[in-house]
């Protein structure tokens, strides 16, 4: 691709970040990750199951030489829980990157941006590379940048909703002002949603449900890979302006009728 996505001091060729939840089974997940070309995969932090001896472990399936493991703080409703989860994740994973979530509401899973900013500031000071899941408010994004986040990750639409970019206007404004990578996180339902996010100028797209819960996750993963590349290429190619009227593609002179 040439152009790489830079987050903190790491560089990536792929602009697609994938979650690892909700796949029908691990082998399907492995194949989907593989065809997607992703280099970063998100994971959640949960208690080891001591009773069930639940055989297989996620990490057995993730080739860490290929993928950077990005722990999230999903299901945390307070900055304290999010910070604690991030700390544990760093200890378990030996990386300092974290996808920071502070959830504000169970039904929408929208972020609590007030606590998010505070947790971000704290974790940045603790040496983390913080990638916060946020709303599409440009003011919040700027504050997250100001406290030292390595990227901002606005939602396109509610997590798992598949509604695509609900407010391209806000996203455009957010992008114009951003000085760190902007990665759309959540709400992508199909390939064109990812392409639209990239065409707006986003630096990357993070998704999970859109692939994992598609009828054919592996093929959808490939669709998403292509869509992110298509959207990026279209963005840098300089699209034609929109017009209400037509402009002929075939010449008007040389007609014989």
């Amino acid at each position: 691709m040439g152009t790489a996505l830079t987050i903190g001091n790491r560089q990536f060729q792929s602009r697609l970040i994938l979650g690892t939840g909700k796949y029908p089974d691990f082998p399907t997940m492995v194949k989907a990750l593989e065809v997607s070309g992703t280099e970063i995969v998100t994971v959640a932090v949960r208690r080891v199951d001591l009773t069930g001896k639940s055989g297989e472990s996620l990490l057995d399936y993730l080739d860490e030489s290929k993928y950077l493991i990005l722990p999230n703080t999903a299901a945390c409703y307070t900055k304290e829980d999010a910070i604690r989860t991030a700390m544990l994740a760093r200890e378990a994973g030996m990386s300092e990157m974290v996808k920071l979530e502070v959830i504000g509401d169970e039904k929408t899973l929208f972020p609590d941006t007030e606590q998010l900013i505070e947790a971000s500031a704290y974790l940045v000071k603790e040496g983390f590379t913080v990638l916060p899941y946020t709303n599409d408010d440009p003011i919040v994004a700027r504050k997250l940048e100001d406290v030292g986040c390595a990227a901002v990750m606005p939602l396109a639409a509610p997590i798992g909703s598949g509604l695509g970019v609900r407010n391209p206007f806000n996203l455009r404004i957010l992008l114009e002002q951003a000085r760190v990578p902007v990665i759309v996180d959540a709400g992508v339902g199909t390939a064109s949603d990812a392409a639209i996010a990239m065409e707006l100028g986003c630096d990357g797209v993070l998704m999970n449900t859109g692939i994992a819960c598609a009828r054919d996750p592996v093929q959808m993963a490939e669709a998403m890979k292509l869509a992110v590349m298509a959207g990026r290429k279209a963005y840098v190619s300089g699209r034609i302006p929109r017009k209400l009227y037509a402009t002929a593609s075939s010449p008007l002179d040389g007609t014989f009728f």
Partner: protein, 66 residues
Amino acid sequence: MELIVNGSRYTFEGQVSVTEMLEILEIRSSRVAVELNRKIVGKGDYGATILRDGDRIEVVHFVGGG
């Protein structure tokens, strides 16, 4: 001695270190993190950290998530 590990009570005979607890509970993965009474125990301190009756321990790892 009773410990609360991941929210459930477990009884151990005699003193155990974090290393021993993990062995007894058959947690072999290196990719876990351990919290003792809300404080993270670094991997290098597992052997030297002796658990006490009533300690609350969390052992977490990575699972699929988005």
